[in-house]
């Protein structure tokens, strides 16, 4: 069963996807929550220091979220199927007999 699983499952890609999804998915949700907390702290602050701390927290969290979006767009533009392969002489340029399908 283990041999079958390793033959059919690309573990190398899978663990990278899980890590990226945790950072870009759950990570962004959590950081975005702290961004909102920062804004609330700043809005309810009774002194300048607390207000700036709130905005700083919101700013750092906002920068993280923007960075994740930029990385996402980079991944979209540079995905493997967007890279131009060497020309082939047959229609295999479109449909190769081996390799991964693009869903």
């Amino acid at each position: 069963m283990a041999i079958l699983a390793s033959e059919f499952i690309n573990w190398t890609a899978l663990w990278k996807i899980v890590v990226a999804a945790l950072l870009g998915g759950a990570g962004v949700v959590i950081v975005f929550g702290f961004l909102l907390v920062g804004v609330k702290i700043a809005n309810n602050a009774k002194d300048g220091g607390r207000e700036w701390a709130g905005y700083a927290l919101a700013g750092v969290c906002g920068a993280f979220c923007v960075a994740v979006v930029v990385v996402g767009i980079y991944a979209m533009v540079n995905k493997p199927s967007s890279k131009k392969p060497a020309p082939k002489k047959t229609a295999a340029a479109l449909i190769a007999p081996s390799g991964r399908s693009s869903l």
Binding site: I30, P80, K83, K89, L94, I95, A96, R100, S101, L103
Partner: protein, 394 residues
């Protein structure tokens, strides 16, 4: 070389499939934003349509492939290639319309692959299909993807609701709505990039089989890019309200933090899998994300009967589209494998079937007005989620 008429029918079928792909998958990006009232339904689908159109032009140096590594390429590019691709597209499109009629989100990609495999098996033989690659690159990712997206979304949702204790319902609701719009937009863009290219690949393949463009110096013609981008955008803009209702309202009652968690997780999984060469179905990822978001909120209710219906449809998608693709080929073959008459007959039958399903769907039509939640108050939203009004108002 196939006939000009069959090529034209393939192009029309390709654009039509892209249109069905668009309205079938609008829900993936926008269902949660509509369900939480972050966007008005019509605004959401127009935004999604624009981003799908733009996405179709991102990274198009090589169009994505159809059934790459699963079906022997010589079969699709050979003498009967045009008729075979036409049968596959008709099978996939008809399956998309059937699942749309039954309001079930299912994978358009799997339908297309199923259509190709079905037509290939009937036209040639099963040994032209690489079953090992099918399991490795389609079946296994399809099984894993909802779990990955669901797990990530559940974690994100759970953490979001812990933070909401510090925020208060009103701030959280407003704040996460803005986040939702952003994450849903990213899913729309990714959808345009992935899905419009598939049909570009199909039409380009037909052009190669017909001898119009060279496989050795292959590039997608501009009119194909524009046509596919426009078809998927128009399909997206047309709504697909039936599936939006299922994805946004029938799996679980989605609140804005849950919607944001579901869409962010889905976007992250889709983009990461695409980048690392492990392509997944957008529909299955987003469905898993919405389910995870439902499970991640303590006390939230998940409608397992709807999940059961979706799972059944996912299991049936490839065989179902395969049977329809094979049937289309068999009918066309009755008139001769290379005849125009066969191609015309299957296109006419598909058009009649599509019209019939559309007519039936009008009996229990769902309109954008039915789905509009922009005027729902926080108390009403909480009551819909099962929270007592007194708690919701606090």
């Amino acid at each position: 070389m196939g006939s000009e008429l069959v090529l034209i029918l393939v192009v029309i079928a390709g654009f039509s499939f892209d249109f069905t792909n668009g309205f079938h998958d609008t829900a993936n990006a926008m269902a949660t934003s509509i369900a939480t009232g972050a966007l008005k339904p019509k605004v959401a689908v127009i935004l999604s349509a624009c981003l799908n159109f733009a996405g179709a032009f991102i990274s198009i140096s090589v169009a994505a492939t159809i059934a790459k590594g699963i079906v022997n390429p010589d079969v699709l590019a050979g003498g009967s290639g045009l008729q075979l691709v036409l049968a596959a597209l008709i099978g996939a499109m008809t399956w998309n319309l059937i699942t749309w009629y039954f309001t079930i989100p299912s994978s358009s990609s799997h339908a297309l692959i199923g259509g190709v495999i079905g037509a290939t098996i009937v036209a040639t033989a099963s040994h032209e299909v690489n079953w090992h690659n099918l399991i490795q690159t389609v079946i296994i990712p399809a099984v894993l993807s909802p779990f990955i997206a669901g797990g990530v979304a559940a974690l994100g949702t759970y953490m979001a609701y812990r933070l909401i204790r510090r925020l208060g319902q009103r701030e959280a609701r407003t704040g996460y709505r803005y986040g939702q719009i952003c994450s849903a937009s990213l899913v729309s863009l990714a959808h345009g990039t992935n899905d419009a290219q598939k049909t570009m690949g199909v039409i380009s393949l037909a052009l190669i089989a017909h001898g119009d463009i060279s496989a050795a110096h292959f590039s997608v013609p501009l009119w194909v890019k524009l046509g596919c981008a426009l078809s998927i955008a128009l399909g997206t803009a047309s709504g697909g309200w039936r599936i939006i209702n299922t994805m946004g309202n029938r799996i679980t009652n989605v609140e804005s933090p849950q919607g944001f968690a579901a869409e962010s997780s889905s976007a992250a999984v889709i983009l990461a899998s695409s980048y690392y060469g492990y392509p997944l179905s957008t529909t299955q990822v987003v469905s898993g994300g919405v389910l995870g978001a439902g499970l991640g909120k303590v006390g939230s209710r998940v409608h397992w009967n709807v999940i059961g219906q979706m799972l059944s449809a996912w299991v049936l998608t490839m065989p179902g589209a395969g049977v329809l693709g094979g049937l289309a080929w068999a009918i066309a073959d009755l008139f001769g494998a290379h005849s125009n008459a066969g191609a015309i007959v299957i296109v006419a039958l598909a058009a009649a079937g599509a019209f019939g399903l559309w007519t039936l769907a009008q009996r229990n039509n769902i309109t954008p007005e039915d789905l509009d939640r922009t005027s729902v108050t926080p108390v009403e939203e909480a009551v819909m989620s099962g929270v007592p009004p007194a708690v919701a108002a606090a």
